[in-house]
């Protein structure tokens, strides 16, 4: 690791972009005229010769002291090495059937963002919209009734943090963001105010709702895959059931097409293989798909929710009180299964990082002494 803690665009390009570690989160975009997002890529369109830049400091793939971030955001008692802070674990869905039908799964994120807007916890929501060609766009929503318009996933990253950066310069005062794990990490790094005099108005960020994420797909490769399977216009949704089916489901107007997971794996964004975080550990609330004993057809209508902060708990309880979310009993062993899956991702990330550096000690952006990784490394 470099002597100097923070570096600039040159190093960001060398060590993240050209090293193919860029997740496309958008944290370096809209801070200056030089870093831009296009499709699912982030590009440096002009060189910047500053030694120290926020682009490098905010990037979720530059070296980071995760313990310091956890100290800033969470109650130490809630911390687990597998999935980060856990204040509560639930299985929920939106009580609004329309909202659910427009959502990827149970509509929990939609319900929570909509409620946060309605209750004035936030005045603006930053979320991803699937867009017309499966290329998600970062969108801003101020109307709680319209949040449901942006509920579907296409498994491609959208540079949502870039949209936050743009928004934070404007008149919004209380911003809530839906975030992938890498985006949640970027927000957490911003909250540390690594360059105090240029803090990016991060105090306007009031709420982060994280999304579980195994990986994201490269848009170009996904488009090639989908185009080979069906008419793009016929596709109504995509999903990967968390089961042993091991397939991507393409929902079309003519029924469901199953794509073997091996074909999907070839579309994974390279950078995702180095990600340690499956459950968006640096969020207030994290939401993902559920597993239920009734099987996938039932489970896909629900979400699993990790509440991590006081604010997160407050919002989830408000959603219960206001009858925005429906709760059901968490099946026995679900949190353990989630922890195991999360640990598995951490283990893979560490293994891949070590393969990259040919070293047991150099984890590029991670610290091998971090409590979340210590045991994994010892374990080989």
């Amino acid at each position: 690791m470099d002597e100097k803690k923070h570096l600039g665009q040159k190093e960001l390009n060398e060590r993240v972009k050209h090293a193919r570690l860029c997740t496309g989160c958008g944290a370096c975009v809209n801070l200056c005229p030089y870093q831009r997002a296009y499709e699912d890529k982030v590009l440096a369109i002009f060189p910047c010769d500053l030694d120290v830049g926020r682009c490098y400091a905010f990037c979720p793939r530059t070296p980071v002291d995760l313990e310091a971030l956890r100290g800033l955001l969470f109650d130490p008692q809630d911390l687990t090495p597998e999935v980060g802070a856990v204040k509560g674990f639930y299985v929920t869905r939106s009580r609004n059937t329309k909202e659910r039908s427009r959502a990827q799964h149970g509509g929990t994120v939609t319900a929570l963002m909509s409620l946060a807007l309605k209750e004035g916890i936030i005045d603006t929501a930053v979320m991803a919209d699937r867009g017309g060609t499966f290329l998600p766009e970062a969108v801003t929503e101020n109307d709680s009734r319209k949040v449901a318009m942006h509920g579907k996933s296409s498994f491609v990253v959208s540079p949502n943090v870039a949209e936050f950066n743009r928004l934070a310069k404007g008149s919004s005062e209380k911003i809530g963001a839906v975030a992938t794990p890498c985006q949640a990490l970027a927000y957490a790094k911003m909250r540390m105010k690594p360059i105090p005099e240029r803090d990016n108005n991060i105090d306007k960020l009031k709420l982060v709702v994280g999304l579980f994420c195994g990986w994201a797909l490269s848009w170009e490769r996904l488009m090639d895959l989908l185009a080979a399977k069906t008419e793009l216009a016929a596709i109504t949704g995509l999903d990967i059931p968390p089961s042993r089916y091991q397939a991507m489901h393409i929902y079309t107007t003519n029924g469901t097409i199953e794509v073997p997971i091996d074909e999907v794996n070839r579309c994974i964004r390279g950078a995702c293989h180095y990600c340690f975080d499956m459950t968006a550990e640096f969020s207030d609330i994290s939401v993902g798909s559920a597993r239920l004993s009734e099987g996938w057809e039932e489970a896909r209508g629900w979400n699993q929710v990790i509440v991590r902060t006081d604010l997160g708990l407050e919002l989830v309880e408000l959603a219960r009180k206001k009858r925005r979310l429906e709760f059901r009993e968490v099946p026995e062993g679900n949190l353990q299964r989630l922890k195991a899956a999360s640990l598995n991702k951490k283990g893979m990330a560490l293994k891949n990082l070590k393969l990259r550096t040919h070293s047991q000690d150099d984890l590029i952006y991670l610290n091998k002494e971090d409590p979340a990784f210590k045991n994994l490394i010892k374990g080989g």
């Binding site: 005229p33 590009l43 926020r54 360059i195």
Partner: protein, 645 residues
């Protein structure tokens, strides 16, 4: 301008070389003139166009040099005297027609005026068009001063009509753009009638059809070579071939054109008038063989001074070899011997150095100490690179092009073309231009690149051209691109005029060279008719332009994006600001993270400068053209624009 029509015969005027050529053409009874703009030739057509109504002339800015030559030839076929004008590379465009024109010859006097640019001061090349005279077997005339420019032009028209072949009249920058004393002659009062006779027999080029073809080429060439032989005998007596110096000079200089003036000055400055003889030739092809032989016989050492290539040197050596028995063996100095530079423009200092070397004389044009100091001070002056003017639409266009290609992220590039936008190769154009050749070659090359997908090439290809260039030579390339489904994007940088050469009108405008209203050709409609996918944008709308370009880069096939915004220097716009620009010092974040001087480090418009003391950007009120582009790229909103009422 008015003195070009002065009828006061014998009056003296200070004429620029191109004005002298105009006056000579008028005295020679020219009726039709056509040209394509190109430095240093452009003023000839401009001046003739201005006085066209008072002399009953037809003058046009043709779509390209070949057409200009055809316009002039048609007038000649109908019995009128005509000229066509172009710069050196224009002859290459016109040469196909000229080659065929030697097959028939001409009727009315017709002169091809070529103004060359040795040293490429305003060119991308340093072509020597004199070789065309030898290649095409036509006479070549080169004036040696301003009076000759006038007199020789008149004679060229007469000579052409007498020999029935077109004549090449060659000038250079220091002849066309310098000024000198000219005594004017008589302006003829003629009202020629145009009529094309074609009822005579085939191969009678005075009354029959003007055609050549298989079977008659040998005959036609014999006729043309006969004309050239007549030219030699006329040239032996020409008053434009002059000698000054001793009867048996130690060194004979043979020269022509502006080099005559340089040589004369060098001989004078070095006080070599009694040692060096100076033979100035005005008729440089075919050579006046007898005259040259006579002077060769009188000197042992011969120096040929010319630019840019060794056209005369070679021809004189051939002549000397043929006449060796008569004139003896000579020692030649020139480009071949290394005594005269083989590229670039010459000047009196260079010739003085050449003479010093050959004659072994001591002379320092300036004291050594001064020369050293002058050389050192070159490095102390602030570096200024070639850039676009403040408010130039090309800066904005190239910014959007750069950004679109960068975001597209497939190593796309721009094929440049001939115009100010060639600067796109430099940081002023964000270094987007990667090829730049002749007029229209941008799209031709891009069309070729666009067909290489078959071989795995996935780089998006963009060609840029100006509005005048579009008509000149881009249209055929667009037809090729559309017909062959090349994956290419043509960006027409339409700034409403032939800006680089001084706003000459072109077919896209509603006015012709003579100021008459003319139907304008709609570039967009032409592109659509050819079958291209067409979009247009105002380049000053940076966001929209970038989006339009990005969309086009994604599409297959031949696309055209027209970026329309009038040149900042155009007569309509000049001095008028759309916006009053200002910088809010309290908002400018300058060198900090978040900007790092976007406006002065990347955009680099000369209208903005970096105040090193206060660490903020500032508008240079004097040169800012008020286009507002800097305000749209400023990331912090510090640059503000206020509409000027």
């Amino acid at each position: 301008m008015s003195n070009l029509l002065d009828t006061n015969e014998g009056a003296h005027y200070l004429y620029m070389g191109n004005d002298a050529i105009v006056r000579g053409a008028l005295e020679g009874g020219v009726s039709v003139a056509a040209g394509y703009p190109g430095t240093p030739s452009s003023e000839i057509i401009e001046q003739l166009a201005r006085i066209s109504d008072r002399r009953s002339l037809y003058v046009e800015w043709a779509t390209n040099e070949k057409i200009a030559t055809e316009i002039a030839a048609a007038a000649s076929f109908a019995g009128l005297r005509s000229i066509c004008t172009m710069k050196q590379n224009g002859v290459h465009v016109a040469s196909d027609f000229l080659l065929h024109l030697t097959g028939t010859g001409v009727r009315g006097g017709m002169v091809v005026v070529v103004c060359e640019d040795p040293g490429a001061l305003s060119s991308q090349n340093e072509a020597d068009a004199r070789y065309f005279a030898k290649m095409l077997e036509v006479p070549l005339l080169e004036p040696g001063d301003f009076q000759e420019a006038k007199d020789m032009m008149k004679w060229a028209l007469e000579l052409s009509e007498e020999l029935k072949t077109f004549v090449i009249f060659r000038s250079v920058t220091r002849m066309s753009h310098a000024s000198g004393n000219v005594v004017i002659g008589e302006l003829p009062e003629n009202e020629p009638r145009a009529y094309f006779q074609y009822k005579g027999p085939l191969l009678d080029f005075l009354t029959g059809p003007m055609v050549t073809g298989p079977g008659v080429v040998a005959y036609a060439r014999t006729v043309q070579q006969g004309r050239l032989k007549r030219a030699v005998s006329l040239f032996e007596q020409s008053r434009f071939n002059i000698y000054a110096g001793p009867e048996r000079p130690e060194l004979l200089i043979i020269t022509s054109s502006a080099c005559y003036l340089y040589s004369k000055e060098a001989i004078h400055t070095l006080n070599l008038g009694d040692r060096v003889g100076l033979l100035k030739l005005g008729t440089t092809w075919p050579l006046p063989e007898g005259l040259v032989r006579k002077h060769l016989a009188a000197a042992q050492k011969v120096l040929v001074v010319e630019e840019p290539q060794d056209f005369m040197e070679e021809n004189i050596k051939i002549l000397a070899a043929d006449a060796a028995g008569e004139v003896g063996v000579k020692t030649f100095y020139g480009k071949k011997s290394g005594h005269v530079p083989t590229s670039g423009e010459l000047n009196p200092d260079i010739i003085m150095n050449t003479l010093k070397g050959i004659l072994g004389i001591q002379y320092e044009p300036v004291p050594q100490e001064y020369a050293t100091k002058a050389f050192q001070s070159m490095f102390k002056s602030p570096g200024r690179e070639l850039t676009f003017c403040p408010g130039c639409p090309h800066r904005a266009s190239f910014l959007s092009l750069h950004n679109a290609l960068a975001l597209d992220n497939r190593d796309g590039f721009v094929c440049g073309d001939v115009g100010c936008y060639g600067i796109g190769v430099l940081p002023a154009g964000f270094s987007t231009v990667k090829t730049n050749f002749s007029m229209g070659s941008g799209l031709g090359l891009a069309t070729g690149f666009g067909k290489l997908t078959k071989f795995g090439m996935n780089q998006p290809v963009v060609a840029v051209c100006g509005d005048s260039t579009f008509f000149h030579a881009v249209m055929p390339a667009l037809v090729d691109a559309v017909h062959h489904q090349s994956d290419v994007t043509l960006v027409v940088l339409d700034n409403s005029g032939t800006a680089m050469t001084g706003f000459q009108p072109h077919p896209g405008l509603a006015v012709d060279a003579m100021g008459e209203t003319a139907p304008s050709i709609d570039i967009e409609a032409v592109c659509r008719a050819i079958g291209a996918d067409v979009a247009s944008s105002d380049p000053f709308d940076v966001e929209r332009t970038e989006k339009t370009l990005l969309g086009m880069l994604k599409k297959k096939g031949a696309k055209v994006v027209i970026l329309r915004q009038i040149c900042a220097l155009s007569p309509e716009k000049r001095g008028k600001k759309k916006y009053q620009m200002s910088v809010r010092e309290d908002v400018c974040i300058g060198e900090n993270c978040g900007c790092n001087r976007m406006c002065t480090r990347i955009l680099r418009c000369p209208g903005i400068y970096w105040d090193t003391a206060r660490k903020v950007s500032r508008i240079d009120e004097v040169i800012c053209a008020g286009c507002g582009v800097c305000a749209s790229v400023c990331p912090s909103g510090a640059i503000q624009k206020a509409e000027v009422a």
